[in-house]
Assembly symmetry: C2
Homo-oligomer: 287 residues x 2
Protein backbone atom coordinates (compact mmCIF):
# COMPACT_ATOMS: atom_id res chain seq x y z
CA UNK A 1 0.00 0.00 0.00
CA UNK A 2 1.57 3.29 -1.00
CA UNK A 3 1.88 6.12 1.49
CA UNK A 4 -0.26 9.13 0.67
CA UNK A 5 1.90 12.26 0.52
CA UNK A 6 -0.48 14.21 2.79
CA UNK A 7 -0.78 11.60 5.52
CA UNK A 8 0.52 12.67 8.91
CA UNK A 9 0.82 10.51 12.02
CA UNK A 10 -0.50 12.11 15.17
CA UNK A 11 1.57 10.78 18.04
CA UNK A 12 -1.59 9.84 19.97
CA UNK A 13 -1.90 6.92 17.52
CA UNK A 14 1.42 5.59 18.80
CA UNK A 15 0.99 6.95 22.31
CA UNK A 16 3.61 4.80 24.00
CA UNK A 17 6.50 6.19 22.00
CA UNK A 18 9.14 8.74 22.86
CA UNK A 19 9.59 11.57 20.39
CA UNK A 20 12.63 9.77 19.02
CA UNK A 21 10.69 6.57 18.48
CA UNK A 22 7.67 8.34 16.99
CA UNK A 23 9.84 10.19 14.48
CA UNK A 24 11.69 7.03 13.54
CA UNK A 25 8.66 4.79 12.93
CA UNK A 26 6.95 7.57 11.00
CA UNK A 27 9.93 8.30 8.79
CA UNK A 28 10.80 4.62 8.38
CA UNK A 29 7.28 4.01 7.05
CA UNK A 30 7.81 6.64 4.38
CA UNK A 31 5.36 9.12 5.91
CA UNK A 32 6.26 12.76 5.43
CA UNK A 33 4.63 14.48 8.41
CA UNK A 34 3.95 14.13 12.11
CA UNK A 35 2.15 15.88 14.94
CA UNK A 36 3.64 15.40 18.39
CA UNK A 37 2.15 15.62 21.88
CA UNK A 38 3.34 18.05 24.48
CA UNK A 39 4.03 15.52 27.23
CA UNK A 40 6.44 13.56 25.08
CA UNK A 41 8.07 16.71 23.73
CA UNK A 42 8.61 17.96 27.25
CA UNK A 43 10.05 14.57 28.26
CA UNK A 44 12.53 14.71 25.39
CA UNK A 45 13.13 18.45 25.75
CA UNK A 46 11.87 21.01 23.27
CA UNK A 47 15.24 21.84 21.71
CA UNK A 48 16.16 18.18 21.37
CA UNK A 49 12.74 17.38 19.90
CA UNK A 50 13.14 20.15 17.35
CA UNK A 51 16.62 18.96 16.47
CA UNK A 52 15.44 15.38 15.94
CA UNK A 53 12.47 16.55 13.87
CA UNK A 54 14.84 18.51 11.63
CA UNK A 55 17.20 15.56 11.37
CA UNK A 56 14.44 13.26 10.19
CA UNK A 57 13.23 15.85 7.70
CA UNK A 58 9.56 15.45 8.59
CA UNK A 59 6.95 18.18 8.25
CA UNK A 60 5.28 19.26 11.45
CA UNK A 61 1.49 19.15 11.08
CA UNK A 62 0.09 20.13 14.50
CA UNK A 63 1.15 20.42 18.10
CA UNK A 64 -1.20 18.64 20.52
CA UNK A 65 -2.52 20.13 22.55
CA UNK A 66 -3.47 23.30 24.38
CA UNK A 67 -6.76 24.48 25.80
CA UNK A 68 -8.35 23.33 29.07
CA UNK A 69 -9.16 26.91 29.95
CA UNK A 70 -12.78 26.86 31.11
CA UNK A 71 -11.92 27.51 34.77
CA UNK A 72 -13.25 30.66 36.40
CA UNK A 73 -10.75 33.43 37.08
CA UNK A 74 -8.18 32.48 39.68
CA UNK A 75 -4.87 30.64 40.02
CA UNK A 76 -6.03 27.58 38.03
CA UNK A 77 -7.09 29.73 35.12
CA UNK A 78 -3.87 31.73 35.23
CA UNK A 79 -1.87 28.48 35.22
CA UNK A 80 -3.85 27.24 32.22
CA UNK A 81 -3.29 30.45 30.28
CA UNK A 82 0.43 30.39 31.09
CA UNK A 83 0.64 26.77 30.02
CA UNK A 84 -0.98 27.65 26.71
CA UNK A 85 1.62 30.37 26.21
CA UNK A 86 4.30 27.70 26.59
CA UNK A 87 2.41 25.51 24.12
CA UNK A 88 2.40 28.35 21.61
CA UNK A 89 6.17 28.69 21.91
CA UNK A 90 6.62 24.94 21.53
CA UNK A 91 4.46 24.99 18.41
CA UNK A 92 6.49 27.77 16.83
CA UNK A 93 9.77 26.07 17.63
CA UNK A 94 8.75 22.69 16.25
CA UNK A 95 7.11 24.09 13.12
CA UNK A 96 10.26 26.08 12.40
CA UNK A 97 12.35 22.93 12.75
CA UNK A 98 10.13 20.85 10.49
CA UNK A 99 10.57 20.37 6.78
CA UNK A 100 9.10 22.85 4.28
CA UNK A 101 5.29 22.63 4.42
CA UNK A 102 5.29 22.46 8.21
CA UNK A 103 2.41 24.26 9.88
CA UNK A 104 2.52 26.08 13.20
CA UNK A 105 -0.86 24.87 14.43
CA UNK A 106 -1.72 24.38 18.10
CA UNK A 107 -4.80 22.20 18.55
CA UNK A 108 -7.02 23.42 21.38
CA UNK A 109 -9.28 21.09 23.35
CA UNK A 110 -11.04 23.72 25.39
CA UNK A 111 -12.15 21.74 28.44
CA UNK A 112 -15.47 20.83 30.01
CA UNK A 113 -17.52 22.20 32.86
CA UNK A 114 -15.53 23.06 35.98
CA UNK A 115 -16.18 20.70 38.90
CA UNK A 116 -19.63 21.24 40.31
CA UNK A 117 -20.65 23.73 37.63
CA UNK A 118 -23.70 23.46 35.39
CA UNK A 119 -23.04 26.75 33.63
CA UNK A 120 -22.41 25.76 30.04
CA UNK A 121 -22.86 29.28 28.59
CA UNK A 122 -20.43 30.64 31.18
CA UNK A 123 -17.80 28.04 30.33
CA UNK A 124 -18.21 28.83 26.65
CA UNK A 125 -17.76 32.53 27.33
CA UNK A 126 -14.54 31.77 29.21
CA UNK A 127 -13.27 29.88 26.17
CA UNK A 128 -13.86 32.99 24.12
CA UNK A 129 -12.08 35.09 26.74
CA UNK A 130 -9.09 32.74 26.83
CA UNK A 131 -8.74 32.84 23.07
CA UNK A 132 -8.80 36.63 23.19
CA UNK A 133 -6.09 36.57 25.82
CA UNK A 134 -3.88 34.15 23.90
CA UNK A 135 -4.38 35.52 20.40
CA UNK A 136 -1.69 38.24 20.68
CA UNK A 137 0.85 35.63 21.80
CA UNK A 138 -0.11 33.34 18.95
CA UNK A 139 0.09 36.17 16.46
CA UNK A 140 3.51 37.23 17.71
CA UNK A 141 4.75 33.65 17.43
CA UNK A 142 3.21 33.04 14.02
CA UNK A 143 1.05 30.25 15.44
CA UNK A 144 -2.54 29.37 14.53
CA UNK A 145 -4.77 28.32 17.43
CA UNK A 146 -7.01 25.54 16.13
CA UNK A 147 -10.20 25.33 18.18
CA UNK A 148 -11.42 21.75 18.11
CA UNK A 149 -15.11 21.00 18.54
CA UNK A 150 -15.34 17.62 20.21
CA UNK A 151 -18.16 15.12 19.99
CA UNK A 152 -21.10 16.19 22.18
CA UNK A 153 -20.54 13.17 24.41
CA UNK A 154 -17.54 15.07 25.77
CA UNK A 155 -19.44 18.32 26.43
CA UNK A 156 -19.29 18.05 30.22
CA UNK A 157 -15.80 16.69 30.75
CA UNK A 158 -13.59 17.63 27.79
CA UNK A 159 -15.02 20.28 25.50
CA UNK A 160 -17.87 22.74 25.87
CA UNK A 161 -17.41 23.33 22.13
CA UNK A 162 -19.37 20.65 20.30
CA UNK A 163 -20.00 22.04 16.84
CA UNK A 164 -17.95 23.62 14.10
CA UNK A 165 -20.21 26.67 14.15
CA UNK A 166 -19.40 27.31 17.81
CA UNK A 167 -15.69 27.25 17.04
CA UNK A 168 -16.16 29.43 13.96
CA UNK A 169 -18.24 31.95 15.89
CA UNK A 170 -15.39 32.37 18.37
CA UNK A 171 -12.75 32.45 15.66
CA UNK A 172 -14.68 35.14 13.77
CA UNK A 173 -13.33 37.88 16.03
CA UNK A 174 -9.73 37.12 15.05
CA UNK A 175 -7.40 36.99 12.07
CA UNK A 176 -7.76 33.57 10.36
CA UNK A 177 -4.00 33.19 10.56
CA UNK A 178 -4.27 33.39 14.34
CA UNK A 179 -7.46 31.51 15.21
CA UNK A 180 -8.78 28.64 13.14
CA UNK A 181 -10.55 25.35 13.69
CA UNK A 182 -9.75 21.65 13.73
CA UNK A 183 -12.01 19.50 11.58
CA UNK A 184 -12.03 15.94 12.94
CA UNK A 185 -14.33 13.37 11.37
CA UNK A 186 -14.81 11.42 14.59
CA UNK A 187 -16.24 14.44 16.36
CA UNK A 188 -18.37 15.85 13.56
CA UNK A 189 -19.59 13.01 11.37
CA UNK A 190 -23.04 12.82 13.00
CA UNK A 191 -23.85 16.50 12.39
CA UNK A 192 -26.56 16.79 9.73
CA UNK A 193 -25.13 20.19 8.76
CA UNK A 194 -21.46 19.25 8.81
CA UNK A 195 -20.88 19.78 5.09
CA UNK A 196 -22.35 23.29 5.18
CA UNK A 197 -20.28 24.06 8.26
CA UNK A 198 -17.08 22.84 6.57
CA UNK A 199 -17.96 25.02 3.59
CA UNK A 200 -18.37 27.97 5.96
CA UNK A 201 -15.04 27.17 7.63
CA UNK A 202 -13.36 27.22 4.26
CA UNK A 203 -15.05 30.41 3.13
CA UNK A 204 -13.88 32.08 6.33
CA UNK A 205 -10.36 30.70 5.90
CA UNK A 206 -10.43 28.82 9.18
CA UNK A 207 -9.51 25.20 8.49
CA UNK A 208 -6.22 24.87 10.33
CA UNK A 209 -6.07 21.09 10.27
CA UNK A 210 -8.08 18.09 9.12
CA UNK A 211 -7.98 14.89 11.17
CA UNK A 212 -9.47 11.59 10.07
CA UNK A 213 -10.52 8.86 12.42
CA UNK A 214 -13.35 6.36 12.34
CA UNK A 215 -16.34 5.87 14.65
CA UNK A 216 -17.63 2.43 15.55
CA UNK A 217 -20.34 1.24 17.92
CA UNK A 218 -20.65 -0.20 20.42
CA UNK A 219 -18.28 2.36 21.89
CA UNK A 220 -15.52 1.23 24.21
CA UNK A 221 -16.32 1.33 27.94
CA UNK A 222 -14.00 4.34 28.09
CA UNK A 223 -15.53 6.35 25.29
CA UNK A 224 -12.36 8.40 24.93
CA UNK A 225 -10.69 5.33 23.47
CA UNK A 226 -13.26 4.53 20.77
CA UNK A 227 -11.32 5.85 17.81
CA UNK A 228 -10.60 3.53 14.92
CA UNK A 229 -8.49 3.27 11.77
CA UNK A 230 -10.24 4.95 8.83
CA UNK A 231 -12.41 2.38 7.13
CA UNK A 232 -12.90 0.20 10.21
CA UNK A 233 -16.09 1.93 11.34
CA UNK A 234 -19.26 3.67 10.21
CA UNK A 235 -17.96 6.95 8.82
CA UNK A 236 -18.28 7.68 5.11
CA UNK A 237 -15.10 9.71 4.60
CA UNK A 238 -16.04 10.80 1.09
CA UNK A 239 -18.39 13.73 1.70
CA UNK A 240 -16.40 15.34 4.51
CA UNK A 241 -13.05 14.85 2.80
CA UNK A 242 -14.33 16.28 -0.46
CA UNK A 243 -15.86 19.20 1.45
CA UNK A 244 -12.55 19.93 3.17
CA UNK A 245 -10.81 19.78 -0.21
CA UNK A 246 -13.41 22.04 -1.80
CA UNK A 247 -12.97 24.43 1.11
CA UNK A 248 -9.38 24.89 0.02
CA UNK A 249 -7.50 22.98 2.70
CA UNK A 250 -4.27 21.68 1.19
CA UNK A 251 -2.28 20.76 4.31
CA UNK A 252 -1.39 17.46 5.88
CA UNK A 253 -4.13 15.20 7.14
CA UNK A 254 -3.56 13.63 10.51
CA UNK A 255 -4.71 10.30 11.82
CA UNK A 256 -5.14 10.50 15.59
CA UNK A 257 -6.39 7.28 17.17
CA UNK A 258 -7.00 6.96 20.88
CA UNK A 259 -7.65 3.26 21.30
CA UNK A 260 -6.17 0.78 23.75
CA UNK A 261 -5.96 -2.04 21.21
CA UNK A 262 -4.04 0.22 18.83
CA UNK A 263 -1.77 1.34 21.66
CA UNK A 264 -1.10 -2.33 22.40
CA UNK A 265 0.01 -2.81 18.78
CA UNK A 266 3.72 -2.37 18.04
CA UNK A 267 4.06 1.24 16.79
CA UNK A 268 5.45 0.28 13.39
CA UNK A 269 2.49 -2.02 12.85
CA UNK A 270 0.00 0.67 13.97
CA UNK A 271 1.60 3.05 11.49
CA UNK A 272 1.39 0.45 8.74
CA UNK A 273 -2.30 -0.11 9.44
CA UNK A 274 -2.85 3.65 9.48
CA UNK A 275 -1.26 3.91 6.04
CA UNK A 276 -3.56 1.15 4.79
CA UNK A 277 -6.72 2.64 6.29
CA UNK A 278 -5.92 6.07 4.92
CA UNK A 279 -5.22 4.65 1.48
CA UNK A 280 -8.49 2.73 1.44
CA UNK A 281 -10.93 5.13 3.10
CA UNK A 282 -9.56 8.66 2.67
CA UNK A 283 -7.09 8.91 -0.19
CA UNK A 284 -9.64 8.06 -2.92
CA UNK A 285 -11.48 11.26 -2.05
CA UNK A 286 -8.43 13.52 -2.31
CA UNK A 287 -7.71 15.39 -5.52
CA UNK B 1 -41.34 16.31 49.24
CA UNK B 2 -44.61 17.11 47.47
CA UNK B 3 -45.44 15.51 44.15
CA UNK B 4 -45.55 17.94 41.26
CA UNK B 5 -48.90 17.68 39.45
CA UNK B 6 -47.22 17.44 36.04
CA UNK B 7 -44.72 14.74 36.91
CA UNK B 8 -45.11 11.48 35.01
CA UNK B 9 -43.19 8.27 35.54
CA UNK B 10 -41.89 6.66 32.40
CA UNK B 11 -41.84 2.93 32.95
CA UNK B 12 -38.21 2.71 31.81
CA UNK B 13 -37.32 4.25 35.18
CA UNK B 14 -38.83 1.20 36.88
CA UNK B 15 -37.97 -1.19 34.10
CA UNK B 16 -38.37 -4.40 36.05
CA UNK B 17 -42.07 -3.89 36.75
CA UNK B 18 -45.15 -5.36 35.18
CA UNK B 19 -47.79 -2.91 34.04
CA UNK B 20 -49.76 -3.71 37.21
CA UNK B 21 -46.76 -2.99 39.43
CA UNK B 22 -45.80 0.16 37.56
CA UNK B 23 -49.32 1.57 37.86
CA UNK B 24 -49.51 0.72 41.54
CA UNK B 25 -46.18 2.25 42.62
CA UNK B 26 -46.90 5.34 40.55
CA UNK B 27 -50.40 5.84 41.94
CA UNK B 28 -49.35 4.92 45.48
CA UNK B 29 -46.70 7.67 45.34
CA UNK B 30 -49.38 10.20 44.51
CA UNK B 31 -48.18 10.73 40.94
CA UNK B 32 -50.91 11.48 38.43
CA UNK B 33 -49.48 10.22 35.14
CA UNK B 34 -47.49 7.42 33.58
CA UNK B 35 -45.95 6.38 30.27
CA UNK B 36 -45.72 2.63 29.67
CA UNK B 37 -43.45 0.53 27.48
CA UNK B 38 -44.72 -1.69 24.72
CA UNK B 39 -43.04 -4.89 25.87
CA UNK B 40 -44.71 -4.76 29.27
CA UNK B 41 -48.05 -3.75 27.79
CA UNK B 42 -47.89 -6.70 25.41
CA UNK B 43 -46.96 -9.01 28.29
CA UNK B 44 -49.99 -7.85 30.27
CA UNK B 45 -52.23 -7.61 27.22
CA UNK B 46 -53.39 -4.34 25.72
CA UNK B 47 -57.01 -4.56 26.88
CA UNK B 48 -56.00 -5.57 30.38
CA UNK B 49 -53.39 -2.78 30.52
CA UNK B 50 -55.99 -0.25 29.46
CA UNK B 51 -58.46 -1.53 32.05
CA UNK B 52 -55.88 -1.30 34.85
CA UNK B 53 -54.82 2.17 33.73
CA UNK B 54 -58.47 3.29 33.89
CA UNK B 55 -58.94 1.64 37.28
CA UNK B 56 -56.00 3.50 38.76
CA UNK B 57 -57.21 6.77 37.25
CA UNK B 58 -53.80 7.80 35.94
CA UNK B 59 -53.24 10.02 32.93
CA UNK B 60 -51.36 8.44 30.05
CA UNK B 61 -48.44 10.66 29.00
CA UNK B 62 -46.65 8.73 26.23
CA UNK B 63 -46.38 5.27 24.78
CA UNK B 64 -42.81 4.02 24.39
CA UNK B 65 -41.82 3.34 21.80
CA UNK B 66 -42.03 3.03 18.06
CA UNK B 67 -39.55 3.80 15.34
CA UNK B 68 -36.59 1.61 14.29
CA UNK B 69 -37.47 2.08 10.66
CA UNK B 70 -34.17 2.93 8.95
CA UNK B 71 -33.92 -0.40 7.12
CA UNK B 72 -33.92 -0.38 3.34
CA UNK B 73 -37.04 -1.60 1.58
CA UNK B 74 -37.71 -5.27 2.13
CA UNK B 75 -39.27 -7.62 4.68
CA UNK B 76 -37.48 -6.09 7.68
CA UNK B 77 -38.74 -2.65 6.78
CA UNK B 78 -42.26 -3.92 6.19
CA UNK B 79 -42.20 -5.64 9.58
CA UNK B 80 -41.04 -2.42 11.23
CA UNK B 81 -43.79 -0.38 9.60
CA UNK B 82 -46.41 -2.93 10.59
CA UNK B 83 -45.11 -2.97 14.13
CA UNK B 84 -45.42 0.80 14.27
CA UNK B 85 -49.02 0.51 13.14
CA UNK B 86 -49.65 -1.76 16.11
CA UNK B 87 -47.90 0.76 18.35
CA UNK B 88 -50.20 3.49 17.07
CA UNK B 89 -53.24 1.41 17.96
CA UNK B 90 -51.83 0.66 21.41
CA UNK B 91 -51.23 4.35 21.98
CA UNK B 92 -54.78 5.27 21.05
CA UNK B 93 -56.24 2.56 23.24
CA UNK B 94 -54.20 3.47 26.30
CA UNK B 95 -54.68 7.21 25.95
CA UNK B 96 -58.44 6.67 25.68
CA UNK B 97 -58.39 4.63 28.87
CA UNK B 98 -56.33 7.15 30.82
CA UNK B 99 -57.72 9.91 33.00
CA UNK B 100 -58.65 13.29 31.50
CA UNK B 101 -55.51 15.04 30.32
CA UNK B 102 -54.11 11.86 28.80
CA UNK B 103 -52.17 12.33 25.58
CA UNK B 104 -52.04 9.92 22.66
CA UNK B 105 -48.33 10.35 21.96
CA UNK B 106 -46.15 7.62 20.49
CA UNK B 107 -42.45 8.30 21.04
CA UNK B 108 -40.34 7.35 18.03
CA UNK B 109 -36.70 6.33 18.32
CA UNK B 110 -35.93 6.11 14.66
CA UNK B 111 -32.99 3.70 14.59
CA UNK B 112 -29.37 3.87 13.53
CA UNK B 113 -27.47 2.83 10.43
CA UNK B 114 -28.40 -0.57 9.06
CA UNK B 115 -25.67 -3.20 9.53
CA UNK B 116 -22.73 -2.51 7.27
CA UNK B 117 -24.12 0.79 6.01
CA UNK B 118 -22.35 4.15 6.17
CA UNK B 119 -25.15 6.02 4.40
CA UNK B 120 -26.38 8.46 7.01
CA UNK B 121 -28.31 10.69 4.55
CA UNK B 122 -30.03 7.61 3.15
CA UNK B 123 -31.08 6.41 6.58
CA UNK B 124 -32.43 9.86 7.38
CA UNK B 125 -34.43 9.88 4.16
CA UNK B 126 -35.93 6.51 5.08
CA UNK B 127 -37.03 7.98 8.41
CA UNK B 128 -38.86 10.67 6.51
CA UNK B 129 -40.42 8.07 4.25
CA UNK B 130 -41.55 5.96 7.19
CA UNK B 131 -43.19 8.93 8.87
CA UNK B 132 -45.02 9.70 5.64
CA UNK B 133 -46.23 6.13 5.48
CA UNK B 134 -47.40 6.07 9.09
CA UNK B 135 -48.91 9.54 9.30
CA UNK B 136 -52.32 8.56 7.85
CA UNK B 137 -52.62 5.75 10.41
CA UNK B 138 -51.66 8.11 13.23
CA UNK B 139 -54.13 10.70 12.02
CA UNK B 140 -56.94 8.17 11.77
CA UNK B 141 -56.19 6.97 15.31
CA UNK B 142 -55.82 10.46 16.77
CA UNK B 143 -52.22 9.74 17.73
CA UNK B 144 -49.25 12.11 17.61
CA UNK B 145 -45.97 10.60 16.44
CA UNK B 146 -43.23 12.21 18.56
CA UNK B 147 -39.90 12.05 16.74
CA UNK B 148 -37.15 11.93 19.33
CA UNK B 149 -33.70 13.27 18.49
CA UNK B 150 -31.22 11.23 20.49
CA UNK B 151 -27.79 12.29 21.70
CA UNK B 152 -25.26 12.19 18.83
CA UNK B 153 -23.41 9.37 20.58
CA UNK B 154 -26.28 7.15 19.42
CA UNK B 155 -26.19 8.30 15.79
CA UNK B 156 -24.87 5.01 14.43
CA UNK B 157 -26.76 2.49 16.53
CA UNK B 158 -30.01 4.04 17.79
CA UNK B 159 -31.00 7.28 16.09
CA UNK B 160 -29.87 8.95 12.91
CA UNK B 161 -31.82 11.96 14.18
CA UNK B 162 -29.55 13.88 16.54
CA UNK B 163 -30.95 17.41 16.68
CA UNK B 164 -34.31 18.98 17.26
CA UNK B 165 -34.07 20.77 13.92
CA UNK B 166 -33.76 17.47 12.08
CA UNK B 167 -36.92 16.22 13.74
CA UNK B 168 -38.73 19.50 13.10
CA UNK B 169 -37.70 19.51 9.46
CA UNK B 170 -39.30 16.11 9.01
CA UNK B 171 -42.37 17.05 11.03
CA UNK B 172 -42.87 20.20 8.95
CA UNK B 173 -44.53 18.23 6.15
CA UNK B 174 -47.33 17.06 8.45
CA UNK B 175 -50.12 18.33 10.66
CA UNK B 176 -48.71 19.17 14.12
CA UNK B 177 -51.41 17.01 15.66
CA UNK B 178 -49.98 14.05 13.76
CA UNK B 179 -46.21 14.53 13.83
CA UNK B 180 -44.43 16.28 16.67
CA UNK B 181 -41.18 15.97 18.56
CA UNK B 182 -39.90 14.70 21.88
CA UNK B 183 -37.77 17.16 23.83
CA UNK B 184 -35.48 15.23 26.19
CA UNK B 185 -32.90 17.13 28.21
CA UNK B 186 -30.43 14.24 28.27
CA UNK B 187 -30.22 14.18 24.50
CA UNK B 188 -30.23 17.91 23.81
CA UNK B 189 -28.56 19.71 26.71
CA UNK B 190 -25.18 20.07 24.97
CA UNK B 191 -26.63 21.81 21.88
CA UNK B 192 -25.55 25.45 21.86
CA UNK B 193 -28.74 26.30 19.97
CA UNK B 194 -31.15 24.18 21.99
CA UNK B 195 -33.16 27.10 23.36
CA UNK B 196 -33.75 28.57 19.91
CA UNK B 197 -34.71 25.14 18.63
CA UNK B 198 -37.20 24.65 21.47
CA UNK B 199 -38.65 28.06 20.66
CA UNK B 200 -39.00 26.95 17.03
CA UNK B 201 -40.65 23.70 18.12
CA UNK B 202 -43.16 25.68 20.13
CA UNK B 203 -43.82 28.17 17.38
CA UNK B 204 -44.50 25.29 15.01
CA UNK B 205 -46.74 23.57 17.55
CA UNK B 206 -44.60 20.44 17.67
CA UNK B 207 -43.71 19.74 21.30
CA UNK B 208 -45.51 16.48 21.90
CA UNK B 209 -43.72 15.59 25.12
CA UNK B 210 -41.01 16.89 27.43
CA UNK B 211 -38.75 14.42 29.23
CA UNK B 212 -36.28 15.35 31.93
CA UNK B 213 -33.25 13.29 32.83
CA UNK B 214 -29.78 14.25 33.96
CA UNK B 215 -26.38 13.73 32.35
CA UNK B 216 -23.30 12.87 34.36
CA UNK B 217 -19.74 12.00 33.40
CA UNK B 218 -17.92 9.75 33.39
CA UNK B 219 -20.56 7.89 31.45
CA UNK B 220 -21.37 4.31 32.32
CA UNK B 221 -19.50 1.65 30.35
CA UNK B 222 -22.82 1.01 28.59
CA UNK B 223 -23.60 4.57 27.60
CA UNK B 224 -27.28 3.73 27.13
CA UNK B 225 -27.53 3.41 30.91
CA UNK B 226 -26.01 6.77 31.86
CA UNK B 227 -29.26 8.56 32.70
CA UNK B 228 -29.63 10.08 36.15
CA UNK B 229 -32.25 11.56 38.46
CA UNK B 230 -32.74 15.28 37.73
CA UNK B 231 -30.29 17.22 39.87
CA UNK B 232 -27.75 14.41 40.17
CA UNK B 233 -25.71 15.48 37.14
CA UNK B 234 -24.49 18.41 35.10
CA UNK B 235 -27.65 19.65 33.42
CA UNK B 236 -29.06 23.05 34.32
CA UNK B 237 -32.78 22.33 33.95
CA UNK B 238 -33.80 25.97 34.24
CA UNK B 239 -33.23 27.32 30.74
CA UNK B 240 -34.63 24.33 28.86
CA UNK B 241 -37.62 23.95 31.15
CA UNK B 242 -38.47 27.63 30.95
CA UNK B 243 -38.09 27.47 27.16
CA UNK B 244 -40.47 24.53 26.94
CA UNK B 245 -42.94 26.40 29.13
CA UNK B 246 -42.58 29.56 27.05
CA UNK B 247 -43.14 27.46 23.95
CA UNK B 248 -46.58 26.65 25.27
CA UNK B 249 -46.18 23.04 26.35
CA UNK B 250 -48.58 22.36 29.21
CA UNK B 251 -48.62 18.57 29.30
CA UNK B 252 -47.10 16.07 31.67
CA UNK B 253 -43.34 15.88 32.06
CA UNK B 254 -41.83 12.43 32.10
CA UNK B 255 -38.79 11.18 33.90
CA UNK B 256 -37.25 8.30 31.94
CA UNK B 257 -34.08 6.89 33.50
CA UNK B 258 -32.17 4.04 31.95
CA UNK B 259 -29.64 3.21 34.62
CA UNK B 260 -28.70 -0.14 36.12
CA UNK B 261 -28.31 1.24 39.64
CA UNK B 262 -31.80 2.74 39.46
CA UNK B 263 -33.17 -0.52 38.09
CA UNK B 264 -31.58 -2.28 41.04
CA UNK B 265 -33.47 0.05 43.40
CA UNK B 266 -36.89 -1.11 44.63
CA UNK B 267 -39.41 0.57 42.29
CA UNK B 268 -41.19 2.49 45.05
CA UNK B 269 -37.85 3.93 46.18
CA UNK B 270 -36.87 4.84 42.61
CA UNK B 271 -40.21 6.63 42.25
CA UNK B 272 -39.67 8.46 45.54
CA UNK B 273 -36.22 9.61 44.42
CA UNK B 274 -37.67 10.69 41.08
CA UNK B 275 -40.25 12.82 42.91
CA UNK B 276 -37.46 14.40 44.97
CA UNK B 277 -35.22 15.08 41.99
CA UNK B 278 -38.06 16.58 40.01
CA UNK B 279 -39.08 18.79 42.92
CA UNK B 280 -35.53 20.05 43.40
CA UNK B 281 -34.26 20.42 39.85
CA UNK B 282 -37.27 20.88 37.57
CA UNK B 283 -40.35 22.09 39.46
CA UNK B 284 -38.83 25.45 40.47
CA UNK B 285 -38.70 26.37 36.80
CA UNK B 286 -42.34 25.55 36.07
CA UNK B 287 -44.99 28.27 36.16
Amino acid sequence: MSVHPRLSINQATIKHTTVAEALRVTADAGIGAIGLWREQVQDAGLAESARMLADWGLRYSTHCRGGWFTAVEGPDRRAAIDDNRRAIEETATLAAAGAPGSRAVLVLVVGGLPDGSRDLPGARQRVRDAVAELAPDAQAAGVTLALEPLHPMYASDRSVLSTLDQALDIAADFDPAVVGVTVDTFHLWWDPDVLAKIERAGREGRIATYQVCDWKTPLEADNLLSRHYPGDGMIDFGPMTRAVEAAGYTGDIEVELLNQAIWDTPPAEAVRRTIDGFARAVAPHLG
